[in-house]
Symmetry: C2
Subunit: 379 residues, 2 copies
């Protein structure tokens, strides 16, 4: 009551072109549907929304896993749900680390009091199946965790061979697809992924706050034979699934508006067609890559390992990377991101995710970068 | 890709009058502002939104606590954040249980491996300061936890005297205000509450997905002297506050659209004035209470302990409570809830929260109940 209401003006943000690592731009159809009035969390109309969201997510994850639903938190909550439910104190887990988010998995697995082994690979490179095989021969693991699309490096991790290795060793395969789901294929059943999660605000172009997750029946068996309770009640999948399945037992109130939005975004992916959607991401990324190289800029990840939805660009010698980003934002309303961790100050990160992933946005960015760097060169 | 897009029709929910325990109805102004296009999570424009949200929350919690922010999850995530950050393995905690949500706190405190003592009071009654004092004399506690507005019973727990008792014993006072914040005064500093959390979807009338939380400097000292890491990385306040304070260190992507909505809802509370907002809740509740009694219905909680934002009504002998609720929803588009736990099948729960809390909604409900019960009586 100390503040006058006049201090807090009408919200009036600039129309940003979001080409960072997420959130991506949200399609007007999704924004509009999120303005639908609330219904109760057990309203038959919301139960239908929940069923639709689950069916649409299964189609996107290319899976028949019954437990496929959005966790009520951002991608990082999805990461915690994935690790918390399948790790108990002392469980051996192998985490592959080739970027910032692999390291985050190590941190969270440690908070599970699991026995964590990490397989480190240089930033900007992919993990090799041979390396995983060697690590598992040296020390078996209950869970092998890795990141499919490292938002910090722009590497797309091949999954097929590693999936086969993990299965051969009898471990659970846990994959972070926060930056990849909806942008490149994630064939959960075909690859044999046991636990897979993503985030609403990347290639799905829904505002942040939901983390789609899918769990294989094999992993569900392991969950149901746990000796200790999951360390988070909020993220306990045994309880959450009772609300999302036909039992409809109240657990916590689902983020209803965000689920409206997720349903609409998933419908749009389906209308476009999964294959077309992935093709748009790779075609638009190629436009960006060629354009950046034509400007004389160097891309950090070799073409064959590049993630279409996130590209890392080396900052040229003598260029103040933050000043360039500030100019992009202030003069052109375009957001890109700086480097994280090992790439801090050395890289720009350009996201092409979901509704942000359009050629007109790429052309605007290329034009703006060209003007900014040329101006700098001539000054 | 197995489903045809035609299976998933346009979202087209009925215009429900939401008089359950939350979510409440969302004001058109809040829905509209949530359709504002996204900006990045470090965009200067979003940082301003964050600062506004924090300032407005401090005003609502009537506190000067620097750490006052929305947790990125529903009210239950707020409960976990509150307990996880201030409990370590073996810590003695006293949880007062007079309803469903007190029991949930016991469950979560157990998952902290804390040493939990519970003070049980019959459902529908308030906890007495004397009882807390006795419990703390018998066994000191690091944290005393209770629920201010029990959504399962409709009891408003007096806080002043218990706050004084807890302070005298040198414990931290942890209060759940999920169903009360915004509907009745929550004077955090005056009462001496150390950890207090709420939910966006109750008296604040924002869609579910955020949990406002405030922490006293005394509690922050205890947090910073922890011996073990908080069991959830996602809910670790030491990390979250670095993003919400001037350091702006990335932790996880905040639910940007929901924060737009929370800011607008808090502005509206401020425009109305806190005192007027509380007065509207109690005046509208009195209209409901008098009206229900005039229909011959019995309210479970004595008037002096009633929570204005949630009322429990005894289901009359021989009435199928679920059939009445189904009729309310299907014939009148009005949602109320059934009983939880000990009150299952025995009570209706009527919420009057935030934008749902208007006399026209009360009159619609009273009229509908009268018609349904009379029709039943005459059949």
């Amino acid at each position: 009551m100390t503040n006058e209401s006049t201090e807090f003006r009408d919200l009036n943000t600039s129309p940003r072109i979001l080409l960072g690592p997420g959130p991506s731009m949200v399609h007007p159809r999704v924004l509009r549907v999120m303005a639908t009035p609330m219904v109760g969390y057990l309203d038959p109309q919301f139960l239908e929304v929940m069923d639709d969201v689950q069916a649409l997510l299964r189609s996107l994850f290319q899976t028949s896993n019954p437990l496929t639903l959005p966790i009520s938190g951002t991608g990082s909550a999805g990461m915690e749900a994935a690790l918390f439910n399948f790790l108990e104190e002392g469980d051996p887990v192998l985490v592959c680390v080739n970027g910032f988010f692999g390291a985050r998995m190590v941190e969270i697995a440690g908070r599970c009091r699991a026995s964590v082994a990490r397989l480190d690979v240089p930033w900007g490179e992919a993990v090799l199946a041979r390396q995983v095989d060697e690590a598992l021969r040296a020390r078996p693991a209950k869970v092998v965790a890795l990141v499919h699309g490292e938002t910090s490096t722009g590497v797309q991790q091949p999954l097929d061979e590693i999936g086969a290795v993990v299965r051969r060793h009898g471990a659970l395969f846990l994959v972070d697809t926060v930056a990849s789901l909806g942008g490149v294929p994630v064939a959960v059943d075909e690859i044999g992924i046991d636990v897979c999660y993503a985030g609403s605000q990347k290639c799905l172009s829904v505002p942040p706050g939901l983390a789609p997750l899918t769990v294989s029946p094999r992993a569900m068996d392991i969950l149901s034979s746990r000796k200790t309770p999951v360390q988070s009640w909020y993220l306990d999948l045994s309880l959450i699934r009772k609300y999302w399945s036909s039992e409809r037992v109240y657990h916590h109130t689902a983020p209803i508006g965000l689920n409206y939005g997720l349903r609409e975004a998933l419908r749009m992916v389906q209308e476009e067609g999964l294959a077309n959607c992935f093709e748009r991401h790779s075609r638009t990324a190629a436009l960006l890559w060629d354009g950046l190289e034509a400007l004389g800029l160097q891309l950090i990840v070799p073409r064959e390992s590049r993630l279409p939805s996130l590209t890392t660009v080396r900052v040229p010698e003598g260029v103040d990377e933050m000043a360039v980003r500030r100019q992009l934002l202030n003069e052109y309303n375009i957001e890109i991101a700086g480097g994280l961790g090992a790439f801090k100050g050395k890289a720009w990160r350009v996201g092409l995710m979901g509704y942000s992933c359009r050629p007109e946005n790429v052309l605007a960015l290329l034009g703006a970068i060209e003007r900014i760097l040329r101006r700098k060169g001539s000054s």
